[in-house]
Each structure stands twice: as structure tokens, then as C-alpha cells.
């Protein structure tokens, strides 16, 4: 379990992290979300010990994270490896820096290149590879030493849909094998799809966190209703305790007040016309996000 406890960090007058606390359970894929400049990268760097903290503590499995950092893997948002170094040697070097023997480092490097489909480029200089393949090598660099905790800053940016699928699969496999995976992303639909839990931060503070299911279902009940021949949803606007959030071609998305009964809404809809569609609605993660950061 990774615990961030009261992280605070100032850059001059800017407060990058403001008493930020949350917990990442073991063996999960965990989404770390927030608008640009919210402090995601600073928090991730702090976990890796690259960025200093003014206050707060980071713990891994109950102990100070500083003692376990050789078992963390990291992919920074701004990708970077030695352009002129040979791919396999580069990975081996990074694995050796994490304490692996030369033989193990070499074997694991090759295994990851194979797994990510770039084994045939192992003996090339990095700069000779296409950007997509460089990205795969970058991922391999984070995975190569078999970390217990993976911290990935925007791992999906710049990937095509096929690569996104394969990277998602790798992340899930790693989590199933017991690795905790924390990643940041702006692709909220993707996050919703592959994460167990998320934390959303804004201006250095935690504004929402929980499992994706919890976040999607918490708060007021939501309905989607479509009534034949009623394009503008006039019937719903008249109901007390019901708010029309959106209207997509006659399909209304409704937000119910705390004491509003869904059955009463159904009856009102039937009076208005033939009900073509009626369902309980989940909040999309993107909605949760917008709501959380606009508070």
C-alpha cells in the first residue's frame, strides 16, 4: 500500500501540493487525475524521491518510501532515454542501477523488449527507432527491474489505439501479479475503463477519490428517459425535484433531488407519451472530474 500523507510543496509563491493525502491499494491500477498544473507530476516525483517536500510523508508497505525506491518503477511525463545508446544496453544499465546483476538485467531487458514487441530493435541505437517504438522502450525501462510500484506519468499520451490496448493489458497483467500501478492521464474514458480506483486533485489538493464504481454512483440518482414525440422534454421540466442535465435528441438525462422517487418520474413520463427508454444512469468519470475540479 502506498500512502501519501499531508504532502506539501511550494515553489516560491506557487503552492504545488497543499496537504495532499491519499492511499493506493496494492495490486490495483490506480488513476491519478487532475487538470494541468494541479500538482500531479510534483506528487509523482515526490513518490520517487526526485522532488523534495516541504512537509508530509510517503510510506510504502508501512515504511518510509525512501527505503524501497529501488523497487519502484517510473516513467516521467517528458520521456527521455539516451538517444545514442543501444536499446538493450540502455535497459540493462537502468536495471543495474536498480540493483540487478548484469546477467539478470540483460535477461529481463530482453524479455521486456519481446513482450512489448520491439525485440528486433534491441541492438539499435534508440534514435533509430520510430517514436512509437521509443515509447515502448521507455515503458520497458520502467518495468525492467520488476518493480513493486509503478508510477507512470501520462503513459498513454502519444500512443495509437492499438498500442493503448496493449499497454492497458500490460498494466492489468502487472496489477494481477501484485504490482501497484499509479498513472496519470487526461484520457478519462480510458481511465474509467482500466482503473480500479482514482484520485482527483486540483490546486494541489485532493478533491475526489474512491473506486470508479463509487464515484459513478455516489451523489443524487440519475436517470435517462426518452419519451416518443417529446423532443424538448417539457414534461420533465415541470417536475419538482428533477433537474434536466442534458437532452440528446430527445434522450433526457435527469438528476433527481434527494427525496424524489424514480417511480414518480416514470409515471410522469408515461403520461407524457410512450416511454421508449428508461434507465438508471451512472455518472461518467469525466462528469465526476468536471464537477470535482469546478468546486
Amino acid at each position: 500500500m502506498l500512502e501519501l500523507d499531508g504532502l506539501t510543496r511550494r515553489f516560491g509563491a506557487v503552492v504545488a501540493l497543499d496537504d495532499l493525502s491519499f492511499t493506493v491499494p496494492e495490486g490495483q491500477v490506480f488513476g491519478f487525475l487532475g487538470p494541468n498544473g494541479a500538482g500531479k507530476t510534483t506528487a509523482m516525483r515526490a513518490v520517487l524521491g526526485i522532488s523534495a517536500l516541504d512537509a508530509g510523508e510517503i510510506r510504502w508497505k508501512g515504511g518510509p518510501a525512501a527505503e524501497s525506491r529501488a523497487r519502484f518503477g517510473y516513467m516521467p511525463e517528458e520521456r527521455g532515454l539516451y538517444p545514442t545508446m543501444i536499446v538493450i544496453e540502455q535497459l540493462q544499465y537502468l536495471a543495474e542501477l536498480r540493483g540487478m546483476t548484469a546477467v539478470d538485467a540483460r535477461a529481463q531487458s530482453m524479455a521486456w523488449l519481446e513482450r512489448l514487441g520491439v525485440a528486433d530493435r534491441a541492438a539499435d541505437k534508440l534514435e533509430a527507432l520510430s517514436l512509437g517504438n521509443q515509447q515502448r522502450v521507455q515503458l520497458a525501462a520502467a518495468f525492467v527491474h520488476g518493480p513493486e510500484l509503478l508510477v507512470l506519468d501520462e503513459p498513454f499520451s502519444g500512443l495509437d489505439p492499438v498500442a493503448i490496448d496493449s499497454v492497458s493489458q500490460v498494466l492489468h497483467d502487472q496489477a494481477d501479479a501484485g504490482t501497484s500501478v499509479v498513472f496519470s492521464s487526461h484520457q478519462l474514458d480510458l481511465v474509467e475503463h482500466i482503473c480500479n480506483s482514482v484520485a482527483i486533485i486540483n490546486r494541489g489538493r485532493l478533491v475526489a477519490s474512491g473506486t470508479v464504481d463509487e464515484l459513478a454512483t455516489e451523489g443524487p440518482a440519475r436517470l435517462q428517459v426518452e419519451v416518443e414525440g417529446d423532443g424538448d422534454g417539457a414534461w420533465a421540466k415541470k417536475l419538482r425535484g428533477v433537474e434536466v442535465v442534458a437532452n440528446g435528441n430527445g434522450r433526457l438525462r435527469l438528476l433527481l433531488g434527494p427525496r424524489t422517487d424514480a417511480q414518480r418520474v416514470l409515471r410522469a413520463a408515461e403520461k407524457a407519451g410512450a416511454v421508449r427508454h428508461f434507465s438508471y444512469d451512472r455518472r461518467r468519470l469525466s462528469e465526476v472530474f468536471r464537477e470535482a475540479v469546478s468546486r
Partner: protein, 394 residues
């Protein structure tokens, strides 16, 4: 420590593999061989000395002097000179190289240094023995008397105050030239290496595994080791070339000239590499590197100019003496003074101590600057910004 070694090892491997290293080594070696072999092949490889004899005790003495030449491996032109005054005058204007005055003393233009292994020093030593023997035989043929007399040395006097020989000067100049070139070249490697890691952003991946101070120390040590290897290759080439061509470049210079040059390279590199590393961390783009590094090249250049100014002879001015103790210029000026034999051992040790203390301070300050600035991207940082107490880019 292990991490630093891994970082250094990568530097060594990558640098030795680079074409630029092989090309630079090849050019240095070729330049050294040319500098030594070309003058040697033009000049007569066997030196010729003019030796005057004044107040010869017997014709046998002149013959004995003539016989010294082949033993030492030089050609001698021996002639008798009327008196010591004339002999001194001819020594001064170069018509004579050595003068034997009876069995009392040997005159040279400048008294030879101890530790000098050149042919002139060997000739002087051999003449000394011969004259002593003549003197002993002149007193009595009895073995006991001869042996006693042999113990009394014959004075070797210079008619002018001693100064560095040409061989000493050439060796010292090459040493300082190599120092100048190497300090600039390998300092720039450190600079560009730091910038490469910063510009390619690989540094953030590395920092997740290696603390910044060890990362920069590994780079400095690795590149330094490569430089030392190249320096030793060039030094060994110089020695071998001099031996093979019978050149006189090293004649008259201290046997430790090359060792001193290497010692001062280590000190100079230790000093400048940290400065270059700190500067590299302030710069985000390779295009800014030259501008940022310019101020550092000034003391190196001043040291080089001051050092080479000593070659014209005479005693060093107080200004140059001060430069020999200032850590930024000492790595160039002090080896020149050592090479020319114009400095006492305690002075060398004091200067080395000052440089060592400065290096110790720099590792702290430059390490701090590096750690604070290396993750900062975008505009070039000013040193003042970085040194502010609460500055941090990460």
C-alpha cells in the same frame, strides 16, 4: 558508491566506443609523434660538443678527454685554449660547450641540474671522472694515493647562472599544451554530457534510481578516467617516439616531467569538471552551452598564457608566481614552473593543497547547484536564482 561506479562505467564504455574519442586520440598521438620525430630526423642524431682544454697537465690529458666521446655516445671536437678567460668568453658565445681547466675544474655555460640524464650531463659526468683520474695519476702512481685523490670531486661551474635547458622547455611546453587542450576538451565533455542528459530528459529516469550527487560524480569520474587513459596513451607515445628516433626532447628535463603533468591534469580536471557540470545543469539546450561555458575558459586561457610566457627565460614575475598558487590557474602555471625547475618542493605542495581544498569545496557547491537545477527546463537559469535558499526546480 556502487551506483557511482555504474554511472562512471557507462561513461567510460560509451566514450571509449565513440568515434570522436578514437579520432581525438589518433590526432593527439600523430601530433606528438610528428613533433618529436620530425626535428629528430632533420638534426644529426648524434650530438657534437666542442670541448676546450686549458692548462693541460700533459698531452695524455687531452687524449683522455678525446676518448670520452665514444663512451658517452657523442662526437667531440677537442681543442686547447690559451687561458681560462678566453675559454669563458667562448663558452658564453657558444663556440665551446665545455671547458676542462687543468685538473681543477670543469666549466660549462650553465651548471647542470641533478637528475639531468641528457647527453650533455652524461658527458660532463664522464669528463669529471676522467679529470679526476688524470689528477690522481699526476700526484702519484701509487694505488692508495690514486684512490684517495679520486674521492675529491672536480668542481663543475657554470659561467652563467643556470637556466632551463631547451629540452626542459620543450617538454614543459608540451606538458602545458596538453594540459590546456585536455582541460578544455574533457571539461567540455562533462558540460555536454550533463546537457545531453538534461535536454533528452533521461535525467529524470536516472534520478529515480540515483541521487543527483552520485549521478554527477559518476559522470565526472568516468570522463576523467577516459581522459587519463588518453593522457597516458599520448605520454607513452611521446616516450616511445623519443626513444625510437633518438630525439633529444626529454633531454635535460626531470625524469618525472610526464608524471607531474598527469598529476596536474588530475587536479585541474577535478577542479574544472565540477564547474562545467554545474554550468551544464543550468542550461537546457546544447545551443546555449558555448555561451555558458565561456567564462570558465578565461582562467584556463590566462593560466596557459602566463605559463607559456615563462618559456622566454628569466625568473618568473611575482604576478606569475601568484597565478601558480591561485587554484584556477595553478594547474597550468605550476607544472610549467616545475618543468623549468623554478619552484621549490614546498611551493608545489602548497599549491596542490590549495587546489585540493578548492576541489573539495566545489564538489559540495557544484553538487548542490546540479541537484537544484538539473530538472529545471526552459529558460537558462542564472546562478543567483539557483543559489537562493528556497530555490528548487523539482
Amino acid at each position: 558508491m556502487n551506483l557511482m561506479w555504474l554511472v562512471a562505467r557507462r561513461e567510460i564504455r560509451e566514450r571509449l566506443r565513440a568515434r570522436s574519442f578514437r579520432v581525438a586520440t589518433f590526432i593527439s598521438v600523430a601530433a606528438v609523434v610528428a613533433a618529436i620525430a620530425i626535428p629528430a630526423s632533420r638534426g644529426n642524431s648524434t650530438a657534437t660538443y666542442d670541448v676546450g682544454v686549458v692548462n693541460a697537465v700533459s698531452p695524455a690529458e687531452v687524449d683522455a678527454v678525446k676518448a670520452v666521446g665514444p663512451g658517452v655516445g657523442v662526437n667531440l671536437r677537442v681543442r686547447e685554449v690559451a687561458d681560462a678567460e678566453q675559454a669563458r668568453a667562448q663558452l658564453r658565445d657558444g663556440r665551446l660547450d665545455l671547458v676542462v681547466v687543468g685538473t681543477d675544474e670543469i666549466l660549462t655555460k650553465r651548471a647542470p641540474d641533478q637528475g639531468d640524464t641528457g647527453s650533455r650531463a652524461r658527458l660532463t659526468a664522464a669528463l669529471n671522472t676522467t679529470v679526476r683520474l688524470q689528477r690522481a695519476l699526476g700526484r702519484s702512481p701509487q694505488a692508495a694515493v690514486v684512490l684517495d685523490a679520486l674521492r675529491e670531486p672536480v668542481a663543475v661551474r657554470g659561467v652563467e647562472p643556470s637556466d632551463a635547458s631547451t629540452g626542459q622547455r620543450v617538454t614543459a611546453f608540451f606538458g602545458v599544451l596538453m594540459l590546456f587542450v585536455f582541460l578544455q576538451q574533457y571539461g567540455t565533455w562533462v558540460l555536454m554530457g550533463v546537457i545531453e542528459e538534461k535536454a533528452s530528459r533521461v535525467v529524470e529516469v536516472l534520478l529515480a534510481a540515483v541521487p543527483p550527487r552520485l549521478l554527477v560524480a559518476g559522470k565526472v569520474v568516468g570522463i576523467g578516467a577516459v581522459a587519463l587513459v588518453q593522457g597516458m596513451i599520448v605520454g607513452a607515445t611521446a616516450l616511445i617516439a623519443a626513444q625510437a628516433t633518438g630525439a633529444h626532447v626529454f633531454e635535460g628535463s626531470s625524469r618525472f616531467a610526464i608524471a607531474w603533468t598527469l598529476v596536474w591534469f588530475v587536479l585541474g580536471y577535478g577542479l574544472y569538471s565540477w564547474v562545467y557540470a554545474a554550468i551544464g545543469s543550468l542550461v537546457s539546450r546544447q545551443a546555449d552551452a558555448q555561451n555558458a561555458a565561456f567564462p570558465v575558459s578565461i582562467p584556463v586561457l590566462v593560466g596557459y598564457i602566463a605559463a607559456t610566457s615563462l618559456l622566454s627565460g628569466g625568473d618568473p614575475s611575482p604576478f606569475v608566481r601568484v597565478l601558480a598558487f591561485l587554484p584556477p590557474t595553478a594547474p597550468m602555471v605550476m607544472p610549467m614552473l616545475i618543468g623549468l625547475g623554478k619552484v621549490a618542493v614546498w611551493e608545489i605542495l602548497v599549491s596542490m593543497g590549495l587546489v585540493a581544498v578548492t576541489i573539495a569545496l566545489l564538489t559540495r557547491v557544484a553538487g548542490d547547484i546540479y541537484a537544484r537545477a538539473i530538472l529545471h527546463s526552459g529558460q537558462r537559469l542564472r546562478l543567483r536564482q539557483v543559489l537562493r535558499r528556497n530555490f528548487s526546480a523539482a
